[in-house]
Assembly symmetry: D2
Homo-oligomer: 314 residues x 4
């Protein structure tokens, strides 16, 4: 049984663990992420690996998951999302510091891989994993393999166009799925309602401490749980965008299952119902194809490190 260490490099924490080939975490540790200090982060990653190796024998590989475009060489960060480590050969650095073979993966890809291999997607070869957090990311698994793309930029599913000419996006376009389907978007939906229809959105405002400007997706979700009409309208709007986006992806990828993951999935049916309704409406040739279930992830916080570890082994 080959063991692998996975490291999930987040904006505030670095989590690492020894993972067996069934996706079980045998040992784990977590350190603060030395924000904005590239070299310190590298050292922390290396420390994590070496500390874990001291605890568990038999580790053969290391996988590092980080936010950004990772080159298809699975070594170089082409463009980091949170950190300016453009061009850094993370794999080489960590390998030099640990003496182990290292692969680097996009963090959403790593988490999605864990979902597809060991989570609700387990046993399926064609899985679309959609991460709904402050942004919309994802992982595409086809014929049992992770799709990284020619340059390592694949699965940028948050940046397909949903509303031509719509909300501006960090990627430079307008109307991207991320601007209508993320937790941030949910908060924006609530903020717009609250600014222009404060009576209707009164409960959302109240749950935001009375300040329209403080409205976030979380307040909308709390209100939606209470059955608040304005909050449910925010979810309808979100679900419609996500359903259309997922249907576009399904037309191209034909997955067996779509797995939703990320912080927004805590909303459960409040999220799932409008999404699946819209997904059915927008899915091409629906009557002629097998049903494509949309499921909420069963994996927890460790998905990122488990996936990174497992991808290193492959």
């Amino acid at each position: 049984m080959a063991l692998s260490i996975g490291v999930d490099v987040g904006g505030t924490k670095i989590a690492a663990g020894v993972v067996d080939d069934e996706g079980k975490v045998m040992a784990r540790l977590q350190k603060d992420s030395p924000a904005n200090n590239r070299d310190a982060i590298m050292t922390t990653i290396i420390d994590c690996v070496n500390e874990l190796r001291a605890q568990v024998e038999g580790v053969a590989t290391v996988g590092v998951g980080a936010a950004g475009f990772v080159s298809s060489d699975r070594n170089t960060m082409v463009s980091g999302t949170n950190l300016d480590w453009t061009g850094v050969k993370i794999g080489d650095v960590v390998s030099a510091g640990t003496g182990l073979p290292v692969v680097v993966e996009n963090d959403a890809n790593a988490a999605g891989w864990a979902e597809a291999r060991f989570g609700v997607g387990a046993g399926r070869s064609n899985v679309l994993v959609v991460t709904l957090g402050t942004g919309v990311g994802g992982a595409v698994i086809i014929d049992g393999r992770l799709v990284r793309g020619a340059a390592g930029f694949a699965a940028e599913i948050g940046h397909i166009t949903i509303v031509p000419g719509g909300r501006p996006c960090g990627c430079g376009l307008r109307g991207c799925l991320e601007r209508y389907g993320s937790g941030t978007a949910l908060g924006m939906n609530g903020y717009e309602l609250a600014r222009f229809r404060p009576d209707y959105a009164a409960r959302i405002i109240e749950l935001s401490g009375g300040q329209v400007r403080d409205i976030s997706g979380k307040a909308v979700t709390m209100a939606a749980r209470e059955g608040d009409a304005a909050a449910l309208e925010c979810y309808e709007q979100l679900g419609d965008a996500l359903g259309q986006g997922l249907a576009d992806l399904a037309a191209v990828l034909d997955p067996e299952v779509v797995v939703l993951t990320g912080g927004m999935t805590e909303a459960g049916a409040i999220l799932l119902e409008p999404v699946t309704k819209a997904f059915s409406t927008y899915l091409t040739a629906r009557s002629r194809r097998p049903e494509i279930p949309v499921l909420i992830s069963s994996s927890g916080q460790d998905a990122g490190l488990i996936g990174a570890a497992d991808l290193a082994r492959a």
Copy 2:
């Protein structure tokens, strides 16, 4: 050197050929397609294979390309586009009639595969092939493998939504890429201009024999070649839709190259210019990624049979 026979089953013709492992056609023949007669078509396919084997020694496999959803078993037609052969195990029937192993593939996938292996996509592992004819189809090649999807329905790129609530589509939705990016769509663009702005579209009407109702994509292309403003506007509209659609696909798939194929590519730069312009406009994170060239296919009519033959060998 393993030889393979490819059969391309079209609505009016059945073309077949012996193909070597470099994609060269060593012998070929063509028969009329006995339209709407399922059994007669099967017999014709089998005849083609057996006649070719009589001509060339060393054929080890057969690949059949046909329009429709082909099951991921690469044997059964789930739902035919032109013919009602739902559920027919084409592979088994042709194998029984020829004594050779047979695989069945979607025809656009087969042609796209030839493009990616032996055409302008040769040497690349991640290729998006887009077929622009009366419809919009395509083939997705990732890491050197054809993407068929969980149920064999992948690469239905003509049915991602481009204009929410727009033109109705045969798939039951509205606003699909096929309704705005195909040759049929080009004709529709011309027809709409001609009905409501006949003076402006005068040259398109003239080239359609004076009848607005007879306007097709071909007449629009002829007028566009002459520099006619109305026809070029039809191409702008088409290119904008295609560019947006291709950009959405590139966000998900990150191909090295996009290859346009099908009858519409005869328009050359008239097609390519508005498409690439819009593709650049809608491509996410464009400044951070390698350029993704959009190329026009160099393959000819034989792409379908070459691809089917080659896929059978794999």
Copy 3:
């Protein structure tokens, strides 16, 4: 009691009548319109007036209604819709030939005026009349007066934008209400469904003699009367566009009543239901304002000449 002669100059017929101040036609006649011959049409108009005067005594004024932009001098045709009589001083010519004072009005304005004065709008001072025929026209009556605009171009309600970037329009724009709310639009809706979903639109095709290219609004209406789902969808699409357009107009004009007239109103409830549903949905401040009923015209074919006659008297 002052009598007035009204002349309604159509593309194929010229209808004229002596009208009393309650909108009753005391004598009428009709002549073929000498198509495309401007001078012959003028002579025909003059002949109509003089023949009617020979029949009925006491005629004091003449009103001529014609399609096109009529200058606010109520004399000059700025730009004719069917005929090239740009700049012709129709009023002066007819006055010279009859010895009577003559005013010229846009034909939709004339018919709308009759509607508002003597039809279902009678007794109301603020009326929006919408003519639904091959195009979408209208008349706006505010505080009991016809709104002609600074240059005589008012009430071009068919040319407000409903679908940005949508179907091209004869006026040079895209997405005008006329392209989504007219009888022509209804036929277009049917044509699009029939081309791309022929099974679904089978009854519409059948009622068009089996030819998709022959589909008109009339065939769609016939099928809708039978309860055909595809035809009713065409009406939903039409009603949604009209409802949005009427709501925009109501936000600006605040009429007491909206009157629909023109050939399309023969469809009755099939038209009225989707229109009123959408009108309610899109009407601003609906809960705070009096209801604005949408009614179908009770006037017949004579509305054009009655209105022209009456406007001449004012």
Copy 4:
């Protein structure tokens, strides 16, 4: 020469003045508005009138302008925008307290009337006045008369639909012109850019004290004055919406001139250029009609009271 007193009832101030029939203010005073106290406001209005009468002889009429839907009886407030004086007969109350005939008008109508009579619209009979402030309001003057509508709800030009399904509006709809064309909308455009493209919108954020949540239309305007690209993009987006809205209104009303007024006009050419560009693009039959200039108001803060005074005289 008949003198008239105009009273402009704002949310924070009540301004009143004696106005002659050429629109000149002969005496003026201003008091704080006793916010949220209906009776106190009435008393303040009456005090203003009586104090002014004590200063200037010959006042014959009083006009009161206030925000809300004013009934076409020009006496009753149907629904107040800022104050809950639904159903209050403001005219009767003020008349009882002053002994003068009183008319009540919507405040935007009153200001628009002053613009059309004494401002840049002077000498024109057909004027569209558009007030661009925190909202989008307006006044429609046709044939020299103010259009109030059947129920007093006319000229709600901020609530025509510009973006179907777009930003939610206080009126209960989505996508109203006010949500895309007001100062609030300008701030929203800036806020969206700043949230999702902070680098690009850095100057707007800086001018908002470094807080994205504090971004207002004013900060966008300041940045636009410096030539900041992001701020100019916000204005492009605003101008496109306004241009489309104005073009829709011009199709219906055919004004001689469009006058922009309200706080946003301080931006001058920064506002006017994108608006006029879009207006030209969306104006129907543009080549056949006289040009409709879009001008910025020359009237100052007194427009509201001048208009109210003048309307009382008519």
